[in-house]
Symmetry: C2
């Protein structure tokens, strides 16, 4: 006993009026008499009428749907971001079409096509780390589908984005350690290829020079973000002439690897060797030995802002000029957050 959904047409027929009247009545169009309006609404309620969105989509050319493409759903950072995106979109009555690229450029391209075919009104993207060309995204401009990038943004001009600048956070992190009396501060940085690696290094150097301390290049080591690489990096740092008493790590994963290794080396974490990291993980709360502080990158906030921007774009487009006068470029300054003491 499948119930076929009620249509506006059926209501019209039963009431002996035209579909247009029904449609207008349901939308409280002023040109419809109160009596008919009431009748229509009553019957619609009784028949449990629900407008068929797909028909409306077709008619209006809008789907009230935004697409989201990101590298990996199961990563904590992105799952936070997507949570924010969904929340924010929901408030504006938009729905989220979700897809993950698994950092595969080819799949990313296909997903863009799929999103386009689904006629999403706009797109939120965090690009895969292997993506080298952004043409597939740029193409969407022709179809008037706005794209807002977040977190992992392409290095091309004329795009909307929200991202987190690691430099300030790093300066804060280093300053925090300096204030605590550390002078030999090491850094386990990421691979040279990543933008964020550069930002962190810049921050480190700026913090040092600002405090009239000289920057010792041997205190910054790269690593490939794996556990093995982290171990090596830590060993390297501990073996340097100026053995660091504190270390800034590229992210929480690296920090935890390093801490794990340090514990094994019988180093008293956060006493003999203090750690500061970047907050990728929400689970720091559950652990015994954690970095003393973390640079927060606000995944939820990033997702939220990005969605807000997209909403803005969607509601103010078509107002005359094709080219938006300006591009949103929101930089969220990362911020040092002291982790809860575990006394």
């Amino acid at each position: 006993m499948q119930t076929k959904p009620t249509t506006i047409k059926e209501i019209a027929q039963i009431l002996g009026i035209s579909v247009s009247t029904v449609s207008r009545a349901l939308h409280d169009h002023p040109s419809i008499g109160l009596t008919t309006r009431a009748k229509v609404k009553k019957l619609a309620g009784e028949l449990n009428y629900e407008p068929n969105q797909t028909a409306i989509f077709l008619q209006k050319g809008k789907t009230l749907t935004i697409g989201v493409i990101l590298p990996e759903l199961s990563e904590a950072f992105f799952s936070s971001a997507i949570s924010a995106i969904e929340d924010t979109a929901y408030k504006k009555n938009y729905t989220v079409l979700l897809a993950q690229s698994h950092d595969d450029e080819q799949k990313e391209k296909q997903l863009v096509e799929k999103m386009k075919n689904h006629r999403v009104d706009g797109l939120l993207v965090s690009v895969g780390k292997n993506t080298s060309s952004y043409q597939h995204f740029e193409n969407l401009k022709k179809y008037n589908i706005p794209v807002v990038y977040f977190d992992r943004i392409p290095s091309i001009p004329n795009i909307h984005y929200v991202a987190c600048n690691m430099e300030i956070g790093t300066i804060e992190a280093v300053s925090y350690l300096l204030k605590k009396g550390h002078r030999a501060i090491g850094m386990i940085n990421g691979p040279q290829t990543m933008v964020a690696t550069g930002e962190r290094k810049e921050g480190y150097i700026k913090a040092m020079t600002k405090n009239r301390l000289k920057y010792d290049p041997s205190l910054i080591v790269s690593c490939d973000l794996t556990e093995e690489g982290t171990k090596k990096a830590l060993d390297e740092l501990l073996a340097s002439k100026r053995k660091p008493t504190a270390i800034v790590t590229f992210n929480d994963y690296v920090a935890l690897f390093a801490i794990k290794h340090a514990v094994k080396l019988n180093i008293k974490v956060n006493k003999d060797l203090e750690f500061v990291s970047y907050a990728n993980l929400p689970l720091i709360n559950y652990m015994e030995n954690i970095p003393a502080a973390s640079v927060e990158q606000f995944p939820y906030l990033q997702g939220q802002k990005a969605t807000d921007i997209l909403m803005d774009l969607l509601h103010h487009q078509g107002t005359g000029g094709n080219e938006p006068s300006a591009f949103y470029k929101v930089i969220i300054e990362s911020q040092l957050v002291e982790n809860k003491k575990q006394d």
Copy 2:
């Protein structure tokens, strides 16, 4: 210079043929001559024609979209599951419409409405923990929208679901500890209201009786899953006459809280007091003191199975009888996984 997407109609006009011919040509309909077929395809390629899905949706009454409603996107378990769902759906050319209920029954209801209006072909649901009525889901049957529940399933008959049975896993967990020589095994269980709490308790008791050991009720304590509650629970256990040498905890969060507390009490974790837990967290790898073993609940697998079932339902419906002859009831047995030694 917005490019309006090419339509089938335009192609027809340019070629001086009818839209139906174009449509059929693009679908390789046998009744279209090869020459016209080739011409159409060529032009379609040049004009970069992409079918308008919303139109197709309307026409076919199918959207190739499945809705997913779950409590909290940012939770590790669910972000794993959604990752699986997206992967699986993608392979079948389906797209995922995502929404989170935040464990709010009211919002959950609204989301169901929204999904219905978006005309999703099917729905994947993990119900909110406060949800008491499942009528909003049941209503979908009338609209021929199949629902597959996973992980958090409602206790009503005639539904499709895939869930994880905690009993077996618990038996394994307790047996594992017994095999290691423990005799006084404590359990920090969840609140009485949850189904999973019962399953765990059952498992515990079965494991004990199977090994001809008597079950000491004072060794099972409930807790509200908060850090404070966990501390109390642990204190209670440690104060009991038969002080446990091993503890099974309700989930990883609880385990980590307990471990944190134990460390503070100068208890040598996994030596004086061994822990076994349920794997909600992927981050166990990064930590120093972790449960010796965890009962894996396979979020990815659950998501995958659930999606497979839904796909099956979608492709075999409308084949005659309305009522499916049977309901999918997939139980994934939880399984004890020994955590990597950290030597």
